[in-house]
């Protein structure tokens, strides 16, 4: 089985190596870009305050209208001989927009109504000699000038349109600098975060699913919205359909193995029965062949049982008969058989520590796991098999042999069904190639772990950890 180192490192490792994370890179780049843009805009808008007054030529009805107003003021000044002030205060004019009249030479000026205090109309005096135009300032827009001549002299007429509400950018400009900066930072931070998360989320989900898949969880899928249409969405969906296909293939292969094994039992039962009948009538010569047939049938029987057990354990359909049981009792039981077996091969079994602890387990399953590991150790040991028992928060059982060990790159594969380290290992020693797979799955079913490793001085070690479930 594969394992990913990335998944094991802490959740905050991106803080240590931000350059290793696409998320961080994209996040920082976008954040900087947005901050840069906003800063530039603010900077530029600050510069433009200096020449906030701009203008463009005045044409069309607005100009005619203004000219008409100028002519009518001239007319009433000459015809009725009224002062400019009284003309401007006439309701017909005073009801209109703010009008501003500025004398050509002097600083004299009139308006047709009260001018808001904060408005500085004197700015317009600079435009007196220009053709009619629209002048934009911070506080108002002015249309004019239009020259008019009254008995009091030459005046220039402007129509003023006051900006009741200063425009947004002006309000922004009035804010204190630190607020502007923090708004820009927070807004761009949130935006960049959302953006990069949106980009990285499917990649992370793909990563998680791939790790799960490679560690054997075939039901793992990447959580990617079906609405996502970009490359990542397509990649995610392709990944999921690949995983579906993989799961289908592997599960059907496993089911096939289990089904075949199950179906093989009926003919095997008949074979054994028929052999039994033949043995009753056989003569001395054929008896040995019949014994051989019986032995092979038993081997076949054991293999089928093992295959079915592994597939049940892998499919998690094994019903665990959980019972509180003293581990000592189980270990003792298994060790008695193992001692006997070791003696037959002239090998020694040394036991240190004890396992006087009660655990909740399926004793038959745990016993078969230990049995398989011990049988394996006895098979490959040169002289001694050492067993170490200890318990604290969990139970630890270590079974080591002093045999040749296993190449490190094959350690992971040892627990796969039917894996054989070398072609030299044949079935003469009586294994089915499923012992370690059963052991591994049986221990995993109890939420424990089985780790195989090589000893420095040679030999294979199996480390079992079983949790102690406290009530």
């Amino acid at each position: 089985m594969f394992s990913s180192k990335a998944s094991k490192s802490g959740a905050l490792s991106w803080l240590k190596h931000p350059r290793h994370y696409l998320f961080f890179k994209i996040f920082v780049w976008f954040w900087l870009t947005i901050i840069g843009t906003v800063t530039a805009l603010v900077f530029l808008s600050n510069i433009s305050v200096l020449n906030l007054v701009s203008n463009e030529p005045l044409h069309g009805p607005m100009e005619k209208n203004l000219a008409y107003t100028a002519r009518s003021i001239e007319r009433s000044a000459y015809k009725h001989n009224r002062s400019l002030e009284s003309i401007l205060s006439h309701p017909r004019l005073s009801k209109r927009k703010l009008l501003y009249l500025s004398a050509e030479q002097s600083d004299i000026s009139f308006t047709n109504k009260e001018t808001p205090i904060n408005i500085d109309l004197s700015l317009l005096n600079f435009t007196k000699n220009m053709p009619p135009q629209i002048v934009f300032t911070e506080q108002y827009q002015a249309f004019g000038p239009v020259q008019l001549t009254v008995p009091e002299g030459v005046f220039y007429l402007y129509e003023i349109d006051i900006n009741n509400q200063p425009p947004l950018f002006i309000r922004l400009k009035l804010m204190p600098g630190w607020i502007k900066v923090s708004i820009a930072i927070i807004a761009s931070l949130i935006l960049s975060f959302l953006f990069s998360r949106n980009l990285i989320a499917p990649i992370n989900s793909l990563k998680k699913a791939a790790i799960k898949l490679s560690s054997g969880d075939l039901s793992a899928r990447a959580a990617i919205s079906t609405n996502r249409k970009d490359e990542l969405g397509v990649l995610g969906r392709d990944f999921n359909s690949m995983a579906n296909q993989l799961e289908l293939l592997i599960s059907s292969q496993k089911r096939l193995l289990a089904d075949i094994s199950h179906e093989l039992r009926s003919p095997l039962t008949r074979l054994k029965m028929a052999t039994g009948l033949a043995q009753m009538q056989a003569n001395e010569a054929s008896q040995s062949y019949l014994l051989r047939i019986e032995k092979e049938a038993n081997q076949l029987d054991q293999m089928i049982a093992d295959v079915l057990q592994v597939s049940r354990l892998e499919a998690k359909s094994q019903t665990l008969a959980m019972q509180k049981q003293s581990l000592n009792l189980i270990v003792e039981h298994v060790l008695n058989d193992a001692k006997f077996e070791a003696k037959q091969y002239d090998k020694q079994l040394t036991i240190t520590g004890d396992a006087s602890v009660t655990i909740s387990c399926d004793e038959a399953l745990i016993a078969s796991a230990l049995e398989n590991l011990l049988r394996n150790a006895i098979k490959y040991a040169n002289n001694t098999i050492s067993i170490k028992l200890s318990h604290g928060d969990a139970v630890h059982i270590e079974i080591c042999d002093d045999g040749p060990g296993v190449p490190n790159n094959q350690l992971d594969k040892l627990c796969e069904p039917f894996f054989r380290q070398s072609d030299a290992r044949d079935r003469v020693s009586g294994g089915t190639g499923l012992g370690l797979a059963i052991a591994k799955n049986a221990i995993t079913a109890h939420n424990g772990t089985l780790v195989l490793s090589n000893k420095d001085q040679g030999g294979l070690c199996a480390n079992i950890t079983l949790p102690i479930i406290k009530e």
Partner: protein, 229 residues
Amino acid sequence: MKLLMIDDDTGLCELLSEYLSSQGFEIQSVHDGEQGLKLAQANDYALILLDVMLPTLDGFEVLKQLRQTKLTPVIMLTAKGEDFDRIFGLELGADDYIPKPFNHRELLARVKAITRRIEHINSLNINTTNKLLVNGVTINLAAREASIDENTLTLTGTEYEILALLCKNASQVVSKEQISEEVLGRRLASFDRSIDMHVSNIRKKIAEHIKTERIKTMRGSGYVFIQGE
């Protein structure tokens, strides 16, 4: 001695009847559950070999319905490794089980262990009024029945044998190995729970009449029938 075999594997039935008849048994075989149940209810067989996977009515259903009227000894033929089948069968009142594919010698040994009792009854029938009264439970060794205050307990053959063994050795620990060897006629396999299942069935049946516990479990060693409160 007449045996009934209920198994849908006709080839196996043929071979088995040939084998068992050579050992002095008479075998009748049927291949579906419904028919098997009818025959089992209508006749008194010495033993029934019952497969779990059967057409029309599965083995458990046959056993359940049979046990409502009859205590004919039943050996379940279960698939090896299907622990649930084994435990469920014993809970429903099967006398023993044998995993498929089985060894013919092993099958014969189990069949003999259970049918031996019947021969035993026949030989003992002459011997009258051989009764045992232990702590409110009466064991009629002649009739091979157990009763509490005149109420006969509906025990299967195996359950009766275990109860009788415990009563004969009241106040003493009887190990599971001893029970297995004396009652089932076989050595107790590692982690075999069948004796526990039988004892648990006996306890339930006693509890219908007596509230206090009569059979005590000695963890790791066996069972004791308690004499005196």
